[in-house]
């Protein structure tokens, strides 16, 4: 049982295993892995083990570090791994406090990965770009500071597409991350490193960022849970800005519960972020304990809308099948599931790219080689700017800056940026209408499962097209949860497919509740990649 030392933000009792509950087989088109009990909260079991002295934080940290070292040559999820001694020192300090009977935070002993576009004062933060190679920020991002305050141990900075621009990590200036389910495939992006790290159990949970799907699509590709909070729920202070009206910091975990616990840890108003919401943060995590999974229809009365436009031609048959299977599972749980249509859905993609490239052209103008980052040798100022930026930025970033510069040029603003903002209004309103009539909306997170490294690299529009499932949610600023719901063929045991659940603004609580019940009642699906040794603790 969990210790009774309860600082205000910790969690109440959480049933780890239940015997009788409604079950639905997940849709499988590949050889199914052996069935096992569903994902449980690693954060809570770690807490339990630490407080009952079954294991020390140092032992736990060492076990994660050794798995990280073993798998890193194959995966390359990390751009920077913390010095082992520093990690073990933090763990030892925690052990001392536990031994002394002191209160410890809800993330005590939890090993965390942080996407490299999120500032960490004691580690390099490159944004995946040569322009910031070796750069050490002067401060921690608010989300990182909160994690540390609550006992989390940051184990390293994860790989990403440069400044968040990409869907595969192939646009990282440094390395390409591999998908733990099949190392010849992409992990998704831009938060590919964070997703792969959690999938391969190199860390317990991780932070990513989501501007157009960069948490949700890699969560789907890597078979982990990914959560994009409502815009304003989590402070962006310390997140290197890509598109300021769309960026959010998001969470990855191997279970819905862990993702919810991390979200709770990092949420809340921050005076250092003028777009951060003052709305109260519900206790996302404690609700898991009160959910009665023994009830036969735990989600009775919940109205679910399946977005028709996301199951059309162009989406892999295997993905459609997995989503329809998930819809049936939700029906078994008592939901009423109907198909709904979102007008102007397809306009979201060009509108997103106009807004994102325009805003990024402005946000990335700060990388001029003067105050930080790599500086080119030049004998006059404009060449200093021009050469530092030309040498420092990769081709995708350069292209987006140029497109954005075009879109914001005098005379073009009305035609592009303003029109895209009007499309944003249409999309916001259509989601609002749909979410007045439904509690949640569901769709795939991507039109396919993970594809091969190198497959889309030459075709920008083909790569952008893969974001169709996710960008509208960013335009509307809504929260969304992606959790694995099935498999398609590929790799050794199949490739995971994620279900995206979209909620009303600031309604992460509902998403987490539905996601948790869905996850705990899904049978015959084990979302641990073959790369990892079969270890019952994970």
């Amino acid at each position: 049982m969990l210790g009774t030392l309860q600082p205000p933000r910790t969690l109440s009792r959480f049933p780890l295993y239940l015997t009788s509950r409604p079950v639905t087989l997940c849709t499988l088109t590949a050889q199914s892995p052996p069935s096992t009990s569903p994902a449980h909260s690693q954060i809570l079991s770690i807490r339990h083990s630490l407080l009952t002295r079954q294991v020390t934080a140092a032992q736990l940290a060492e076990s994660y570090l050794s798995r990280l070292r073993l798998t890193e040559p194959h995966l390359k999820s990390f751009l920077h791994v913390s010095d082992s001694d520093a990690v073990l020192r933090q763990a030892a300090l925690l052990d001392q406090r536990i031994a002394g009977g002191e209160d410890v935070g809800p993330l005590a002993g939890v090993v965390v990965g942080v996407k490299d576009n999120i500032c960490t004062a004691d580690m390099p933060s490159t944004g995946g770009s040569r322009v910031l190679e070796g750069y050490r920020p002067a401060y921690d991002a608010t989300a990182v500071r909160k994690i540390k305050e609550l006992g989390g141990i940051v184990v390293g900075k994860t790989n990403l597409d440069e400044f968040g621009m990409g869907s595969t990590t192939e646009a990282s200036a440094f390395q390409v991350t591999a998908n733990p389910w099949d190392v010849s495939r992409v992990p998704g992006g831009s938060s590919g490193g964070s997703a792969a790290a959690v999938s391969a159990r190199q860390c317990v949970v991780s932070l990513g960022s989501d501007t157009g799907g960069s948490v949700r699509q890699p969560a789907s590709f890597c078979g982990v849970v990914g959560l994009k909070p409502t815009y304003g729920r989590v402070s962006r202070y310390g997140l290197m800005a890509y598109a300021s009206s769309l960026d959010v910091i998001g969470c990855f975990g191997s279970s819905v519960a862990d993702t919810g616990i991390l979200l709770h840890a990092i949420s809340g108003h921050d005076r250092l972020d003028a777009t951060s919401s003052k709305r109260e943060v519900p206790d996302f995590a404690s609700q898991f304990a009160s959910i009665n999974l023994l009830e036969s229809k735990p989600l009775k009365g919940l109205r679910v809308g399946v977005i028709r436009e996301t199951l059309d031609e162009g989406v892999d048959a295997g993905v459609i099948s997995a989503i329809r299977g998930a819809a049936s599972h939700l029906e078994e749980l008592g939901c009423s599931v109907t198909e709904i249509s979102l007008p102007s859905f397809s306009l979201g993609l060009p509108a997103y790219y106009i807004l994102a490239s325009s805003e990024s052209s402005s946000n990335l103008s700060r990388y001029d080689g003067v105050r930080y980052g790599n500086q080119a040798v030049a004998d006059e100022l404009n060449s200093l700017y021009g050469d530092s930026r030309a040498k420092g930025f990769g081709p995708e970033v350069k292209m987006r800056i140029l497109m954005g510069t075009y879109g914001l040029s005098a005379g073009y603003y009305d035609a592009y940026y303003k029109r895209a903002q009007q499309v944003r209004t249409i999309i916001r309103k259509s989601f609002k209408t749909a979410l007045d009539e439904n509690d949640i909306l569901i769709s795939p997170a991507a039109p396919s499962a993970a594809y091969k490294i190198g497959e889309k690299i030459d075709d920008p529009l083909a790569m952008y097209a893969g974001d169709i499932m996710t960008v509208n949610v960013n335009l509307a600023g809504l929260p969304a949860l992606v959790l694995p719901c099935g498999f398609v063929e590929g790799g050794k045991v199949g490739l995971p497919v994620g279900l995206q659940m979209i909620g009303a603004a600031f309604d992460e609580e509902k998403l987490l509740k539905v996601g948790h019940i869905f996850e705990q009642t899904l049978q015959n699906c084990r979302f641990v990649p073959p790369l990892i040794e079969d270890d019952t603790a994970w």
Partner: protein, 157 residues
């Protein structure tokens, strides 16, 4: 899998959005044009990277196509001539694709700056001191106390 052909169907008005489909043709090479009852433009991308545009009764954009060299100058990025050559068609392709928003009826729709705006979140206009100045200065590539050094500024003719 080879490159994918992308078939985009432009919607017309936001009032009657019946055929708003996003279409992905998994086979490479040219796709057939389907016919619909609304006026629309199909942008078809074949694997040779050329853009073929079929316009109908909708007005063409009267905007100048992107001049990549000039944009690079504005954005202060020194592109090599081969980069300009490489980027220009890709950028043109994406800008053309952006163009489909020209045909959407957005009359009387307010632009949204972002998703939701709460009441003013501004703090008082009072200066504050940032503690970790040493770390910020340490990050400066070219520093000569107390100056951040840059090369000379040339006046443009």
């Amino acid at each position: 899998m080879g490159s994918r052909a992308l078939l985009m169907l432009k919607g017309v008005s936001s009032i009657a959005p019946k055929n708003q489909i996003f279409n992905f043709n998994c086979k490479s090479s040219r796709s057939s044009n389907s016919s619909f009852s609304f006026s629309q433009v199909v942008i078809n991308h074949n694997k040779n990277n050329k853009v073929r545009r079929c316009s109908t009764t909708t007005t063409q954009s009267s905007l100048e196509p992107p001049d990549v060299s000039r944009l690079a100058e504005t954005a202060r990025i020194s592109l090599t001539p081969s980069e300009v050559e490489e980027f220009a068609p890709k950028i043109q392709q994406v800008i053309d694709w952006f163009g489909q928003l020209q045909d959407v009826d957005l009359h009387s729709i307010e632009p949204s700056i972002r998703a939701d705006t709460e009441d003013s979140n501004l703090r008082d206009d009072v200066p504050e001191t940032f503690e970790n100045r040493e770390s910020m200065i340490a990050a400066v590539p070219s520093y000569e106390e107390p100056y951040i050094k840059v090369p000379k500024v040339l006046n443009k003719e």
